[in-house]
């Protein structure tokens, strides 16, 4: 099995892109990634694209064909991958597996979501399809409601506070100010978060990631050939994926995601590293509590201490383990299918030293963590500077 | 007559609208209304309740008191003026929810407020004939009064379920006899597709309620050769507090015999559930040997009268599910705005 490297990246601006269509985003993200990799379109062997719900957001399925078509890459194989909010991370993993196996050489991995062409209520409903329709959504549970229930239990068992959760949002907004692609470039305070409108108590509006349009793209190549294309290839040192029960009430724990623990263990093992070796990470903060649980489940701090670690600044850009330097889903935005890819893009930029004002210093290993729904799918990748 | 009640149960929603609240809204004198109707407040169903959900909880409570296997129920009849569907029975929803399906017959009844007691009579006949082992009759309603109409003070929600079977050791009250009086009298009606009923004002009194209630009661007393003194309790249909007290007095019953079954003061008129809930309240406190007269009334018009004699088995069965007063007392007062929202008087 060959080692895989990332030789090119791109990310569109994330936000409410009223004037930019799904098809335009494909071209923009794809073209810039190819440019960044310094390859010719003709060299691409295959594409994997993560997208949660084009069917519900723009009434379009079969987007694998649509994307290949509009990217000008027909007739190469193009595969659409779906795992709710983990669609992007899963597409990356599929691309990695394809290159590692030797079946393909240069593979484009993308993620894309256009969420703002329908009314907010419809978007919320579409996102709720990540939960169990018969036993959760049917009885009135909303997607934020599921995370709110985890938050309340986490607060009950570990004393995590709403203030600590708010601090994750504050940090991520701050980081996003240094990310030109981020949806938000504004600072917020803990007070702003606490005073924002309740959505599903204890989660408030500013505890929740936004609705966003956006696309991101990576170009993968076999590591042994990567230097032909770039001086700064980034190795995919480890990839891990795990499934868990769809319903939150069927999980073995309500204060963390077992999927994160399982997937990260596999990725760590493959990369030959442990949590202590990770210099920084992009984690799936669809809600502030998700970031707090993620840093615990990934092993960056003890179970129950995620709130304290955030409060004490350990996860800030200058801290012990910077988390979500890109701004995370909260500050950068969360175009569902694109998120997993955008997380990897941030890791690549950081490892290349191209992260500008949000650059993390002295690190060679990063981790990205992408979750589907309330934890039914988790995908983790460990990226390393390839020398 | 060889049949009796094997189990009974009720359900009354938690929410209450006080007369004061509705009166305040329409600029009426609350005290005058309360004196005139002898009603203090009425029950209001929550936004996730309807005739079917009320019927199911009453039915489950009845099955618990009866202590029977629901599969032994051979017939279920639900009487109501507010079935959730115009076409599709409530009875089958109840049957499924209490696990009585599939080997039974079921149907919905309509006869204004006496649809439930009509069901009791059907079950009596079927049980006595040996067609079924047990039959369940339910009267359940979420009545609607037009905003500003006097009915708004009393149109309430609730349900009662009675399980009938051949007399045996599990009978908690034997039915000695039943007598009905029916004429075509348009005192109160609702046309298809209309949201609210209409009524004939003063015509709903003497020529309607009293004519039928009294005729049915006299008919039964004559048939069984009984007098009011032979009874420990009497319960009548209760559209307000005054009518049943007046009917009782006219028949020769004392106030003390009627008050235990007079729930309307605290919960309003639960329509098809009214007489059945009143009867249940009496059974909640009656002793073996007590004789009870129950007379329902349904506009249109008709009355079903029953004479029951309580048996020993009631002592053991009574506490198996909540009593009427448990539901009456477990209440939350709401304001008119909340009431309007719950009853969908306000459209978003």
């Amino acid at each position: 099995m060959r080692k895989v490297a990332i030789i090119g990246v791109s990310c569109t601006k994330f936000g409410e892109l009223w004037d930019i269509s799904f098809r335009q985003m494909i071209v923009e993200a794809g073209a810039r990634a190819i440019e960044d990799a310094g390859i010719d379109g003709k060299q691409i062997d295959a594409m994997y694209v993560g997208n949660m719900s084009a069917g519900q957001f723009i009434s379009q399925e079969h987007i694998s064909s649509l994307i290949a078509d509009h990217a000008g890459l027909v007739p190469i194989p193009c595969t659409r991958v779906e795992a709710a909010c983990a669609s992007g991370g899963l597409a990356l993993r599929q691309g990695v597996i394809a290159v590692a196996s030797g079946i393909h050489d240069i593979v484009v991995v993308g993620g894309i979501e256009k969420m703002t062409d329908i009314m907010t209520e419809q978007t919320t409903e579409a996102l709720a399809t990540a939960a169990d329709q018969e036993w959760e959504a049917f009885v009135g549970a909303t997607f934020p409601g599921l995370y709110a229930m985890m938050a309340r239990r986490h607060m009950y068992e570990y004393g995590t506070t709403e203030e600590q959760m708010a601090m994750a949002a504050v940090k991520n907004h701050h980081n996003a100010c240094f990310n030109p692609c981020a949806q938000y470039q504004m600072e917020i305070t803990v007070d702003d978060v606490l005073k924002s409108a309740p959505v599903d108590s204890p989660l408030k509006l500013l505890d929740c990631s936004p609705i966003t349009d956006g696309a991101a793209c990576l170009i993968l190549a076999p590591a042994e050939k990567a230097k032909q294309y770039t001086d700064t290839p980034i190795l995919v040192a480890g990839t891990g994926q795990a499934s868990d029960t769809l319903c939150l009430h069927d999980r073995s724990t309500l204060t963390g995601l077992r999927g994160t623990v399982d997937a990260s263990r596999i990725a760590y093992k493959m990369a030959g590293v442990g949590p202590r070796d990770i210099g920084f990470a992009e984690v799936h903060d669809c809600f502030t509590i998700a970031e707090i649980m993620a840093i615990e489940d990934l092993g960056f701090c003890n179970k129950g201490e995620g709130g304290k670690a955030t409060e004490e600044g350990e996860t800030a850009i200058g801290g012990r383990i910077p988390i979500n330097t890109s701004g995370g889903l909260k500050g950068k935005g969360h175009p569902v299918g694109a998120t997993g890819i955008a997380q990897a893009v941030e890791l690549v930029l950081q490892l290349r030293g191209e992260a500008g004002k949000r650059q993390v210093g002295g690190t060679e290993i990063g981790l990205c963590h992408n979750v589907g729904g309330s934890g039914g799918t988790v995908v983790v990748h460990v990226l390393k500077r390839g020398d | 007559m060889e049949v009796g009640i094997v189990g009974y149960g009720v359900y009354i929603p938690r929410y209450r609208l006080k007369v004061e609240e509705a009166a305040r809204m329409w600029g009426m004198d609350a005290e005058r209304v309360k004196r005139g109707l002898l009603v203090e407040e009425k029950s209001v169903p929550g936004p996730d309740e309807d005739t079917a959900t009320i019927a199911v909880e009453a039915a489950r409570n009845a099955v618990r008191k009866a202590g029977i296997n629901p599969q032994d129920i051979g017939a279920i009849y639900v009487g109501s003026e507010s079935h959730p569907y115009a076409v599709k029975p409530t009875a089958s929803i109840v049957a499924e929810a209490i696990m009585a399906t599939p080997d039974l017959t079921a149907a919905d009844y309509e006869f204004a407020c006496k649809a439930g007691t009509a069901g009791i009579q059907t079950c009596m006949g079927m049980a006595e004939a040996g067609m079924i082992k047990y039959g369940m009759a339910i009267g359940s309603d979420t009545a609607q009064g037009a905003p500003g109409d006097p009915l708004e003070y009393t149109a309430a929600a609730g349900g009662g379920a009675f399980i009938v079977g051949k007399n045996g050791s599990d009978t908690l009250a034997a039915i000695e006899g039943t007598y009905s009086y029916t004429t075509d009298t348009p005192d109160f009606w609702r046309r298809e597709m209309r949201p609210y009923p209409r009524h004939g004002g003063r015509f709903t009194g003497k020529p309607a309620y009293f004519k039928h209630v009294l005729s049915a009661a006299y008919g039964l007393l004559r048939q069984l050769k009984l007098t009011p003194q032979d009874f420990a309790y009497a319960v009548f249909h209760q559209p307000n507090g005054k009518f049943p007290l007046q009917a009782a007095a006219e028949l020769g019953f004392k106030k003390e015999q009627v008050l235990p079954g007079l729930l309307v003061i605290k919960i309003g008129n639960t329509y098809s559930g009214a007489t059945m809930i009143g009867l249940a309240a009496i059974l909640d406190q009656a002793k073996a040997g007590d004789r009870i007269l129950a007379v329902s009334y349904g506009s249109g018009a008709g009355s079903d009268a029953f004479s029951l004699v309580v048996r020993d088995a009631i002592e053991a069965k009574r506490d198996a599910s909540p009593k009427v007063l448990d539901y009456v007392n477990n209440k939350v007062n709401i304001d008119y705005g909340t009431y309007a929202k719950f009853r969908q008087l306000l459209v978003r």
Partner: protein, 122 residues
């Protein structure tokens, strides 16, 4: 359903025991409807069909026999709900498919009140 081999109870019904796999045979098993609130949230932004009930408590409930489920806690002020509260499962209207489609009935939870405790639930 209850597994005849390992005695674990499942809700909703399953057709293969995830613990015993082929060794277990699943038989129908009636739950008594009592449980405890393990965690809950108060929903302010409701999904379609639940707007009129906002704010409401949505909870994960652990039934006495073991299985957990998600349900709305109805007939109460959601601010009064606490982790550990005892509830009973009741039959209520969940929603409807428009004004001319079928009505959905299902289960919701209700906080145990003093009178419920008096009833001997079998």
């Amino acid at each position: 359903m209850k597994c005849g081999f390992c005695n674990k109870v499942f809700f909703p019904p399953r057709f293969s025991c995830p613990v015993c796999r082929r060794k277990g045979t699943l038989e129908p098993y009636k739950l008594n409807g009592r449980g405890k609130i393990v965690t809950f949230a108060i929903t302010h932004v409701a999904p379609n069909g639940f707007e009129d009930q906002v704010p409401y408590a949505i909870a994960i409930i652990e039934l006495e026999e073991g299985p957990r489920l998600t349900a709305q806690v109805t007939d109460c002020d959601p601010n009064q709900v606490k982790i550990g509260d005892e509830v009973e499962m009741i039959f209520r209207r969940i929603g409807q498919e428009g004004s001319d489609g079928p009505i959905y009935y299902g289960y919701k939870a209700r906080l145990i009140s003093p009178y419920t405790l008096r009833a001997n639930v079998k």
